[in-house]
């Protein structure tokens, strides 16, 4: 599955989301549940703001010296007998994994959830070579069995599906005959996946954080699937995007603590697995052969720009869980595997503006995302910066919008014009006004009023009201 997913047109995706009452219900309750749990568990940590500052400081330092820490990491992995491949592009990364699979004469690959391999379309590349690739995270497995339905949330990928739909998917594709009870479905999947694990030649994982000082990689899960992916097959390939690294084990503690609390409101997830190289010579379980693929794929172009701190993201989805726009349109509307506010920032950076120019507008700029971010990425400011680039440099903004921006700019910069326009506003807007609302506005207002009403300009301007009021106060 590539970075960009689903319907091509933003408006179509948004309308689809708005029409899906079930999805909107689950998204709302998931947001509430995850947000409440996060709040409770972060309060227990004491000074949450101090934790966020520490998280930000660690991420800033690490990114500023990324070349140094990646060099240290790769040396340490090699010292322990692991192989490291630096991939500038998705194609290079895929080619390396395919080569390893060919050399091992592999037939079956089990995977634990990894966003960067999704971004690279690694599964497609491997399937082209005739390999069977099985996603083992329950949510990802459901989507894979359902003809590769795209994920709709960073942490809970199958959030948009209800139990009955999931049951039907398994009944149709895997001859599942039990009820739509979550426990029954899980039991069934446990049995199916056990066989896959025991059969697989290669395990592929992502990497939540690599530890430079020891050449370790860490995987944060609740299900324990990453543990089986890394303990059973003879060959393990971990794919990490280049920024997912911490200097030492002490920073691993901080980042994992922030991640678990922000993502699912847990102190720690059920499993946090750290792996250093292949298994030792005397060890029975664990991979004989360990490969680490470090992927750039457009990330280095973000370094040194005003968007550098977007690379601090630890993929916790805290911003997604507070976003009012995500709540209304759902994850598929973003058309990217990275959805919500961070998706709206990151997708145009990785994939260009041309196909993603609507995303920075899928935000109310309420700054809830910025406040929620455990590593203090100024998300709403970066969304504004994107909009500026889109309207000014890229000339990709829609005509009515450019026209409106220009008019607004001229209007507010000349006091006489502003006075005239605001005095006339009520009269000018009257054809579109019903009562005190505008629900079918003209020109630049149309995009807004397609979704919600706009209060009509008052018959008396604020300035006039204020002036009159002061006069009457003075009279008294």
């Amino acid at each position: 599955m590539p970075l960009r997913v689903g319907e091509k047109d933003f408006q179509t995706r948004v309308n689809k989301g708005l029409d899906d009452a079930f999805m909107r219900g689950t998204v709302r309750s998931a947001q509430e549940q995850l947000r409440t749990r996060k709040q409770a568990s972060s309060e227990e940590l004491g000074d949450w703001e101090a934790w966020r500052s520490l998280g930000e400081e660690i991420r800033t330092h690490t990114l500023e010296h990324l070349d140094y820490y990646l060099e240290q990491l790769s040396d340490k992995v090699a010292e322990r007998g692991g192989h490291v491949y630096f991939a500038k592009t998705a194609e290079e990364g895929n080619a390396y994994v395919r080569k390893v699979a060919r050399e091992q004469e592999a037939k079956k690959i089990v995977k634990s959830k990894s966003m960067v391999t999704e971004e690279m379309s690694l599964n497609d590349a491997l399937e082209e070579d005739g390999l069977e690739v099985v996603e083992t995270d329950l949510g990802e497995y459901i989507l894979q069995v359902d003809d590769h339905d795209p994920p709709s949330h960073i942490v809970a990928p199958s959030l948009h599906k209800n139990r009955a739909q999931i049951k039907d998917v398994f009944a149709e594709k895997k001859d599942y005959e039990d009820s739509d009870n979550a426990n029954d479905i899980t039991r069934f999947v446990r049995g199916e996946l056990r066989e896959e694990f025991l059969d697989a030649d290669i395990g592929i994982t992502g990497c939540n954080f690599a530890v430079a000082e020891s050449g370790s990689i860490s995987l944060v899960t609740n299900e324990g699937n990453a543990d089986l992916v890394t303990a059973l097959p003879k060959t393990q390939i971990s794919v990490m995007s280049m920024e997912r690294i911490v200097p030492t084990w002490e920073e691993l503690d901080v980042m994992v603590s922030l991640l678990c609390r922000s993502a699912v409101g847990q102190k720690l997830t059920s499993y946090i697995t750290t792996l250093t190289g292949p298994k030792g010579e005397e060890e029975i379980d664990g991979p004989e052969d360990f490969h680490l693929v470090i992927v750039d794929n457009g990330r280095s172009d973000i370094l040194g720009t005003q968007f550098q701190s977007a690379l601090h993201c630890i993929r916790c989805a805290a911003c997604v869980n507070v976003c009012p726009v995500y709540r209304h349109v759902g994850g598929h509307a973003y058309g990217s595997i990275y959805n919500g506010p961070i998706g709206a920032v990151l997708t145009p950076l990785l994939d260009g503006y041309e196909n993603n120019k609507d995303l920075p507008y899928a935000s109310s700029l309420c700054a809830a995302c910025t406040e929620a971010c455990p590593v203090k990425i100024p998300l709403h400011e970066q969304l504004i910066a994107h909009r500026q680039i889109i309207t000014e440099k890229e000339k990709l903004g829609s005509m009515p919008e450019k026209w409106a921006m220009k008019m607004f700019g001229t209007g507010v910069s000349a006091p006489k014009l502003y006075r005239l326009a605001s005095k006339q506003a009520h009269r000018v807007m009257s054809p579109w006004t019903k009562g005190s609302r505008i629900s079918n506005g003209p020109g630049p207002l149309k995009a807004w009023t397609n979704f919600r009403d706009l209060p009509a300009p008052a018959s008396e301007r604020f300035r006039d009201w204020f002036a009159n009021r002061r006069r009457s106060e003075f009279d008294e």
Partner: protein, 239 residues
Amino acid sequence: MSRGTIQGREDFLNRIAEKIGRPRSEHVERPEWQVQPQWDVFAGENTEQLMERFKAQCDKIHTNVIETDVNGFREAVAETIGAYQADSVIMWDDVRLERAGLDDGFRSQMSALGVETKVWDTSKGEENIRLAERAGVGITYSDITLAESGTVVLLNSPEKGRLVNLLPENYIAVIPRSSLVPRMTQATRRVHERVQNGEEISSQIHFVSGPSNSADIEMSLVVGVHGPVRATYIILGDE
């Protein structure tokens, strides 16, 4: 162990340095972080207080807790195996488990009750994996225990197989009271110190908090998607 290969590094890292706008970083000192709130969590609490926190957290992560001493230990383990209605057990080849009472005598006692008890045996190779796959209960010993999150830290080694706590349907962790620390901060510092001293660390360090679970179906919690369905911690008082 032979050294692994590194490919494509120089161009990749040069590009990073160039984009950041400076020459390659040759030596970087990790700074003293401005704030370090992680050390304040449960600072100054004694083992008793930490133990209370630990037990309260276990309740939240659906994990049974049994407290016992050396005299009651064997019985506690046997009762837990019985409660799980398991007829086979696999455990780490760990002298600490044996010393606590899970020795040959215990294994023959269990055998008389119809429970086959196996020890992870490096000389038997892959057979261990098949035994773990079939076993109803897996038993490991906690190297470090985290009060805050109800976590056992398992430092794997040839005798301490990775799959013992993963493949069986039920999991028992034996936890010495003395292994309790406030949180992950203390455990990761210990690993960091080993790395700084040039010592080799375990190829897998596993932080395990209760049974395997998922909320991928309508956000409702289900257990045992991949790993164990049920977990019991047996806290062993120090002698």
